[in-house]
Symmetry: C3
Subunit: 347 residues, 3 copies
């Protein structure tokens, strides 16, 4: 697979400066460019590499004006990073081994509806009454329970488990070890101090364009007819816990190992750091940002930035923490004052 | 499936107020009641819904006295929440597809003892010398190693892995991705700075009525003949880590993503929040409560409530944290005092 | 399997004091010794057990001088703990059921290279073009993607998933539920607030002698030709998250539930506690120690000990935290001073 810089520029609606007939066969970071590779310059702090890179081609901003002589052929575009991403994606599509067909043994239940051009890996299990869209890839050792529906073009990686009745949208990616629809953690305390499980009869609904990282778990809703809901375009990293009846708004992004307790509702376009913990039954607004390892115990208004455990305003937290670091000094200063005051003449 | 309110009241030993011949076909939350549904009122703060709900029936406390006119038929019981749970459970039993029989291909080792009425899903693996009780459900893609024993009525969801020799009680539920019996994290430091693995020869013992959430991991004990022990009725949420030789007392409840390090012993009836971390070789008493995200490094007496990382008394922590939030102000007040003192006439 | 104390002492280069002809058939902790068992005494605080243990043999330090009469036969060695570990390992090798051969059904792709004496469990999957060394054990329900290579003597436990193209060294142990090579968490924000996935084209490289705990996840690198790298002898506990392009130096040890964000590089011989969070794009030096639940947001020099979230110097953190516990008192003392000052005669 080789393309000339001119061909690539045409794909990107870019302008070529230099020799556009040079052939490109791989994509590299600017500091790791080699002859035949194409790189991009987006962050100005990497500009020095533009003059030293061995890459044959470099995607730059249309406003980029080299301050030194440059050997590499340039492609000027609106947004170099975005353009590079487009190329990566195209490249990914071309080089990825596009699995298709059915490997045996695999298990297919009764009364299923299966779309065109799907892949069913060996030891994959699809239960009864399931509905699988077109171009869906179901990798080996994965489990799709009875009555599950999966939209078009969704990828189910090896070892994913989807409990009966859950709904997965189209264009989703579920990574290995993901569990969808396990029981919510609901137990009724008994008089003798033991607990009785509360039947978890609801399901999980995953909207379109959702990505779910490896070994993340999403519990089902408690009541029949209810859903734990993951909104459109939501991106969940690895090892995240989403409890029963949680609702996550569209295009919210959550980093690894974060946990959200039961019945909490998260807005759209939120960004949560890693290892965040959110208590149950909360309402978190849109565009909320929460720093890594924070712990939330209260409702949060839209647009707020929070940090700490328990979390409060990010700037205020950092101010408090700056003083926390000097607490021994603060304590000493207070002691000195106390001694001074003690030695003052009494009124 | 339909029951009259009179029939349901009889099941619950409840008293009917209103039309008991109305038929019920589903269970709903009070705020989501529809004609034909039954709801419950337990928390007084939801009382207003009792007057507006469209539910046909409402389970209430025997002492409940409506302050306004009420259209819904009431069932008066001792404990509305508990009664509702009983109904949910019965409903669950009726509507759940009760899998039974053997799906092929599945793997059954030699010299196994298998009870009556069990389900073995496709691609499930049962090793040699294993003992499986009656009514056990082993879902697809799960792995039961050699010599494992599982008690009656236990459910092993899809993709659970139980290492050889571990013991699982009866009436347990293990959710997808659970790992029982992986090696404890034990390594002997060598003179050159590297580590040599210490063979992990013990097993895991799970008592009866234990629920284990998705992707939770429980390591085996270190020494031959020893067990990591999960007590009767213990409820573990998702993504929890239980290290080698840990012992958890009966009816203790642990929320998601908590981790307990090696050889720590936890009492009975404890409640641990999510993302708690407990160091190794500790003794935690009965009825201990630990707030979410807390970190424990010391032994804890029975009945204590702790919070923070490192954790101490819950109330004291909250008092300290209240001042922490005002530390910049505290610092300023101290500076002002220092300046004032400096300006005082010297003695 | 029985050995005389003399035979065992010979294996350990130890000196026998007492009856060396006694036969040993099991290994026990000193406080749980039984006739026929061998124990060890390493930690002086357990010395009292040396006089009461029922173990037939006891491994002690060569300098050990009993302060009371002792009935048990002693084996004096340089390092009792290390010697005991050597025995445990030997014992483990002898008693472990050494699986070998192929259980059916299992899946083997095309053009694979498979070494001698390997075990392929039922429902294990090996993709095309994979290379598997000798003595490798691949347990049931595990998935080895296309083009994966695995070195000699490595154990892949049940339900491990290795994405295509990843490289696993020799003498490694991967526990159940481990995921190697899932997509890095990389998404390009779009103008409308949604995110576009950045194709993740790199792989993961696991060096020799690496142990990876149950349900730990390691993401692939972003760029083609790049690797997320786990150095030689690294020990990872359960439920750890290693993001794309992370590099972990040799013989670093990481406790459970810790997460390391993208492109961070960790030195050699580091020790990380459980539930630690490390931000992306950081450089952490060699021999760094990080306390449990700490959060790192900055580069760290070699040899540093850190604690807290955000983390700083361990001793300083503990000093600050000691004052934090007394903050309400501090606040009161400050108030009292303010009142006193207010009551002073003005200058």
């Amino acid at each position: 697979m080789e393309f000339t810089i001119n061909q690539i520029a045409a794909m990107l609606n870019g302008e070529v400066l230099g020799d556009g007939t040079i052939k490109i066969n791989t994509l590299k970071k600017i500091q790791e460019g080699v002859p035949g590779s194409l790189s991009f310059l987006s962050n100005p702090k990497y500009e020095s590499f533009a003059y030293s890179t061995k890459a044959s081609g470099l995607i730059v901003n249309k406003d980029f004006k080299p301050s030194k002589k440059i050997k590499t052929t340039l492609i000027k575009v609106e947004d170099p990073y975005l353009s590079f991403t487009v190329l990566l994606e195209e490249y990914h599509r071309l080089v990825s081994f596009q699995k298709t067909g059915v490997e045996e043994p695999s298990y297919l239940g009764e009364n299923t509806k299966i779309g065109n051009n799907i892949y069913r890996g060996a030891f994959s299990y699809i239960g009864n009454e399931a509905t699988i869209g077109s171009n869906v890839k179901i990798y080996p050792n994965s489990y799709i329970g009875d009555g599950v529906s999966i939209g078009d073009n969704t990828i189910i990686h090896a070892g994913v488990k989807v409990y009966p009745g859950c709904k997965i949208g189209s264009q989703c990616v579920l990574h290995s070890g993901v569990v969808i629809g396990s029981d919510g953690f609901g137990f009724a305390p008994q008089k003798d101090g033991s607990y009785k499980p509360i039947p978890q009869l609801g399901k999980v609904m995953i909207s379109d364009f959702v990505h779910i990282g490896a070994n993340t778990t999403i519990d089902c809703a408690t009541m029949e007819g209810d859903f734990t809901i993951i909104g459109e375009g939501v991106k969940l990293d690895n090892l995240i816990q989403i409890a029963h009846n949680v609702k996550i708004g569209a295009h919210t992004v959550i980093a690894a190992q974060t946990g959200i307790a039961g019945s909490t509702s998260l807005g759209k376009y939120c960004i949560l750091g890693g290892q965040v913990g959110i208590a149950g039954h909360l309402e978190i607004g849109d565009n909320v940002g929460i720093g890594a390892q924070s712990g939330l115990g209260k409702n949060v208004e839209a647009g707020t930035k929070l940090f700490g455990s328990p979390a409060f305003d990010l700037r205020e937290y950092l101010s408090s923490y700056a003083v926390f670091k000097k607490l021994p000094d603060l304590n000493n200063r207070l002691k000195q004052l106390e001694e001074k005051i003690l030695n003052l003449p009494t009124v």
